[in-house]
Amino acid sequence: MALSTPTIQIVPVLMLFFFAFRYNDLHVFELQEPTRVIEWIGEKSVCVAGYENSKKNEILQLLLPQKLYVKEKQGLCPERDFKVERGGFSDRPVYSLRHVPNTSLLVTSGPPDSSLQVWQLAAEDTDVVKSVSTIPTGNDSKKPWAKIATTLARTPCVLHGSRVNNVQITEIESKKNIYTAASSISDEVSGLEFLDCNTLLACCVKGQLCLADVRQPQSPLGDTSVPSALSGEQWCMGVSSGLQGSDVNAPAIARLSSGGQLTLTDLRNIPKPLKSARCKVSAASQSAEFLCVSWAPVLDGCLAVSGFNGTVHIYDTRNWPVSGGETEPLFSHKGHIFSGMDNGGDFPLVTTHAWHPWKPRMLLSAASDGSLHVWDWAESHKNS
């Protein structure tokens, strides 16, 4: 589209950025407090929550603008706004938030200790998210906050822990402990996932992956030594959700380091990574606090990466060079940088991102300035 001169003069930088990067859809919201969690509740709502230390934080369940969850292509829907369906108040900062699928239960965790808070979303007569209970985890306040994952096996359960040797599964309603990892490793955990209701996976900050079968509680958490390629940096993981797809695609785990290294691993052969590449980032991230990597639910082989700066990168792992060197992203979402410019402040840091469950190229991303974007990038015309 040709922009005539007068238009360029009055169109601010943001508008140019929109046209230049060719989005199908772009929504820019400003939350009152920044969030570092985005968790889907069904297909129409997401939960976000504040992470301030000094005051009460809000947990919000936001209903997506109508046009983002209708199946047919709608024109200009009048409804472009998020609707706050429910809200609650948390005394502590929320660093991690998970929904138990098919229930109205939420579990959150955050400093100052590794205990968990359980919340009830749905109630007939109120829109307040109620605090239901707390799951305490020992008296050691030196443990960092717990990472969590949730599942609905027979009953709602939460997998949680801050170090490999305190990874455990607790039944939410009864608070009964139903599994404890038998491990002596005290390394800090950066992520936990249920691969299925019997298999759990932990990723350590140092980079190791630990796999365990819940049905064999006394067997040690399968640990692996840290491959040299992975040492020195802080790591997090992304697990392909659903893990459906053809047999050719074995369950692949993506690990991301604070230096920008991306490694793909087949769970059947953890010590030998499948593929590697380096993200296009100008500088290594000082901390792994907001590092986030996730697989696209629809686009085969695509990963989203964020946490280094104000951008979210999309990588197509099928195109990675064999050498394992630096790779170009398929797409780069820079919206959070531009919203930072508008506010005249420092460039914000993307705190988290999440893929839309079924729209192939749609993501949500949040940044440290409170911005929350929903974007759908247009397929490049270039042959890739």
Binding site: F18, L26, L62, L76, P78, K83, G87
Partner: protein, 521 residues
């Protein structure tokens, strides 16, 4: 205890018609007078019978205030003033006064001419109604009467929209109408000073939304237009035309230029029509937005609509963040939200209460909320006291500052006349009259003479006069003989003095009660 009462008028829980009754220190004000656009019968009007069953509205209401020209805020005004009956003042800003009659007439035309309704206000009624309007400027204090004053603040939202402060003595209420806190391309953000009203009344219809940025909306809109034009189509955007007008504004595609163009372009699927706002039932705009693609036009002609139909709304309302911002600006003692379902607003209520430590009320339509206000007494605090409190860690928190001190009230000495004037009081005279019985068989006038001589002899330092009409004057005290007595041997004297002469009056009375000396002159 002084109280403020608020009642949102209307039936049921439905949104879409703003009309709020406020009672403050004995004054009654009606805020907005809107029409519900979704109903075709009397349910579209607020239920005015709530105000007074059989009295005249003019006697009951001190004034009516209209916040802006949207029909859900002013649509019922002509019905209210001309058909129900109200002759008092109606306040609104100058732009609102200019635009209201145009929209009202347009709406009337659609309802009566297009839909054939009969129980509706006429053009003359709109004109008569507007004659009762008093236009106000922003930040101008208007004295409605000796005690009631109002002031308009900028609200953004649409041209002429205002928030109003209503003040009686030390009690005040702020009504926001519709407002927005983020500036638009042609309008600024709402603003109010730290006026600390007892109550802030705000709409809460959009309070639970988080708005998409203006630029994204505009981008989407421009993209649509551009795509249409690129593929060879044309885009029609019917808007309200105000100013140089014929009364038929074609904003809802119901008449005029835009309808003609629409008919020409409707058959081509490359074309697009973008409706910019709410369309009243019965208009072509409303029908095509509802999905109708075959329209019956004049002369029973069927028009097939193949062009793309889009709806875009740039109208700006305050979202959750905006409400918090406004409360932070105005610092009200309490907040009242109208037009929200209480069940679905519990979180917002808690949020407001926790953040600002104020009460948050959410009455349903027809429900009255009563607030008790406590009067403010302004007090200067000495620096020494403040420093001492601060040293022990006592500092103000959210406008709460409990502390102990000694209050010294300062006095001024002024002339009584000035005091009366300052307080707005008239001077009253107090006069006492006392009856004294005197044993004296002589005639009245002889008795009076004896009294006179007696008093003259005793009260050598005072002026004692025998007046021509037979009464005696001691200073300003009047002594008169009265004919009323049961027997000849007893005479009755009336001794009368003002409050200022209380001491002398009492002395005189007791002196006379002792009786007259026996010897006669």
């Amino acid at each position: 205890m002084p109280e403020i009462k608020v009642t949102p008028l209307g039936a049921g829980q439905d949104v879409g018609r703003s009309c709020i009754l406020v009672s403050i220190a004995g004054k009654n004000v009606m805020l907005d007078c809107g029409m519900h656009m979704g109903y075709n019968d009397d349910r579209r009007f607020p239920d005015f019978s709530y105000i007074t069953q059989n009295g005249r509205l003019t006697d009951f209401l001190d004034c009516v205030i209209i916040s802006h020209f949207h029909l859900d805020h002013c649509g019922a005004l002509p019905y209210f003033s001309e058909m129900v009956g109200y002759d008092g003042p109606i306040y609104m800003t100058h732009p609102t006064k200019a635009i209201c009659p145009i929209l009202l007439e347009d709406y009337r035309k659609i309802t009566v001419d297009k839909k054939g309704e009969t129980n509706f206000f006429t053009s003359q009624m709109i004109k008569d109604c507007m004659k009762k309007v008093v236009a106000v400027h922003l930040h101008q204090t208007i004295q409605v009467d000796d005690e009631l004053e109002i002031k308009a603040y900028y609200a953004g939202h649409v041209l002429g929209a205002a928030m109003f402060q209503i003040k009686v003595g030390s009690e005040s209420v702020v009504y926001t109408g519709d407002y927005n806190m983020t500036p638009d391309r042609h309008l600024g953000a709402a603003w109010i000073d730290k006026c600390r009203p007892d109550l802030l009344i705000s709409e809460s219809t959009y309070a639970t939304t988080i708005r998409d940025s203006k630029r994204c909306r505009e981008r989407d809109f421009l993209k649509k237009v551009h795509e249409s034009v690129e593929r060879g189509g044309k885009v029609l955007i019917p808007v309200f035309a105000l100013g140089r007008v014929v009364f038929a504004t074609p904003g809802m595609l119901h008449a005029g230029q835009s309808l003609q163009i629409f008919r020409k372009w409707a058959g081509n699927e490359k074309n697009m029509v973008i409706m910019p706002g709410y369309c009243v039932q019965g208009t072509v705009g409303h029908k095509i937005l509802s999905g109708q693609r075959k329209l019956e036009m004049e002369g029973r002609q069927i028009l097939e609509v193949k062009m793309q139909v889009e709806y875009m709304s740039f109208s700006a309302h305050a979202d959750a963040k905006g409400i918090m911002q406004l409360i932070r600006q105005a610092e009200p003692r309490s907040v009242l939200l109208v037009h929200g379902e209480a069940k679905k607003m519990e979180f917002l209520k808690q949020k407001i209460e926790q953040e600002f430590h104020v009460n948050c009320y959410m009455p349903a339509n027809g429900e009255t909320t009563t607030l008790f206000t406590s009067p403010n007494i302004p007090v200067d605090i000495s620096l020494g006291l403040l420093k001492r409190e601060s040293a022990i860690g006592n500092t103000p928190v959210n406008n709460d500052f409990p502390l102990s001190g000694t209050a010294i009230l300062s006095f001024r000495l002024v002339s009584p006349e000035q005091a009366l004037k300052e307080l707005g009081l008239g001077e009253h005279q107090l006069r006492f009259t006392c009856r004294v019985h005197i044993q004296d068989p002589r005639k009245e006038h002889e008795m009076v003479l004896r009294v006179y001589n007696h008093l003259k002899g005793v009260l050598k330092d005072y002026s004692v006069q025998h007046l021509p009409d037979g009464s005696i004057m001691v200073e300003s005290i009047l002594i008169q003989a009265t004919a009323q007595s049961e027997d000849q041997g007893t005479k009755v004297l009336l001794v009368s003095w003002t409050y200022q002469d209380e001491e002398l009056g009492s002395y005189l009375t007791s002196l006379l009660k002792k009786g007259l000396p026996q010897t006669t002159a």
